[in-house]
Symmetry: C2
Subunit: 261 residues, 2 copies
Amino acid sequence: MKTITSRDNVQYKELVKLAGSQSARRKAGRTLLDGVHLCQSFLQLRGMPEQCVVSESALHNPEVMDIVGQLEAQRAHVLALPDALYNGISQVEHGVGVMFSIATPEREVTAPVSVSAVLLDGVQDPGNVGSILRSAAAAGVTQVYCSAGTAFCWSPKVLRAAMGAHFVLDIFENVDLADLVRNAKVQTLATSGYATQRLYDVDLRTPTAWLFGHEGQGVADDLLSMATHQVVIPHLGQVESLNVAACAAVCFFEQVRQNLT
Amino acid sequence: MKTITSRDNVQYKELVKLAGSQSARRKAGRTLLDGVHLCQSFLQLRGMPEQCVVSESALHNPEVMDIVGQLEAQRAHVLALPDALYNGISQVEHGVGVMFSIATPEREVTAPVSVSAVLLDGVQDPGNVGSILRSAAAAGVTQVYCSAGTAFCWSPKVLRAAMGAHFVLDIFENVDLADLVRNAKVQTLATSGYATQRLYDVDLRTPTAWLFGHEGQGVADDLLSMATHQVVIPHLGQVESLNVAACAAVCFFEQVRQNLT
């Protein structure tokens, strides 16, 4: 384990940049997994990180000691920082001071969609994207395709909201969704307040690609018209719309229900 | 319409306090509805606000002109601010500059729960609380009871996330949930990862009180043990938990589905 105590250290300055700037993360092709839960999930599902950073006070935490022990047994890089320096790169308040620095997984689309998947067309809020990833992973939907206008999946906010779901998903970003929908080997479903077919009346026991859109405008019209089914989630109240992450959860778990019953 | 141009104006300073401080809002018993959609919803569902505040540039927006016209016809207070001053009290980026100042609706629990309701036990994230309110309103669940540890429902962040759902709901805060569950006239359902009964196997065609808990710890054990049913949302993926707002959406719309089929 190496300890850094100066804010002027080159490695520390690099971490500050990664923590604070989306463009720095994109440029470096790296991101930070902040907090015990994300680090444990990564270790369990994806293996060793390039680097682990711990705060000095966290070195007494049993969960952190366990993580650091596993890493040092594999001779991975562990960097200890005084709490003041650690807090300069962490966005988690009152958290336990441990984070991994990892290379951002980048995937190219090489084949048409042939299993259940979620397609995000300009979903902007990182909390929504994270929640959708988490729900998808829980429902057994394993592929995620994002348009260029969707929040960057490997940003710290999306990672926190998804609670480790990233590590069981195949995530593709900057995808041409029209092309993907056109060539899909599975049915594609888009929700729309104007649809007449009810979600509950579609057979979801086959693999399904779910298409969700921008928080305000929904799925773009051209994509909507290409979907196999446009469906509506029936409402019983005076309010006629749902948050996109809530909508996605209802869809994914209707598929789970149909598959289990 | 009155125009204020000085930051030292007493009325403006009052608005700055309301915009920036939860304790100021609680002390004054007032809150701000920021943005066209919230203002339109309030006007339509609850009537006149005590005060409307508009930015000078928004006075040319047709939707804002319509709102201001309705208010002035009723001799309601409209306050115009130069954009620089307006931006000092607005938390909506790139929004259209209109907000209402309203008295925070406060309700006392006077009767046991006898219709479908949602009970929030320490749900902390304002975005989650807002999303749950929005889903409840869409599913026809009309009553919301919050424990003391739950995010304040009338904060700007919760209001924004709920997109006007507040105005079709009866919201009770600082409620003793144990007392409420004990005396409920309807079945109470709590979700728990440890439950064995599946959500889909409970008859939801009768009014139901839904109990959701803290993002990390879930529903407190004493409350959980008092619920009529503890249910699990079955998972098909490797991730075994859902965001609380996603979980609530799945529950509410399973109730909708059962009521419609």
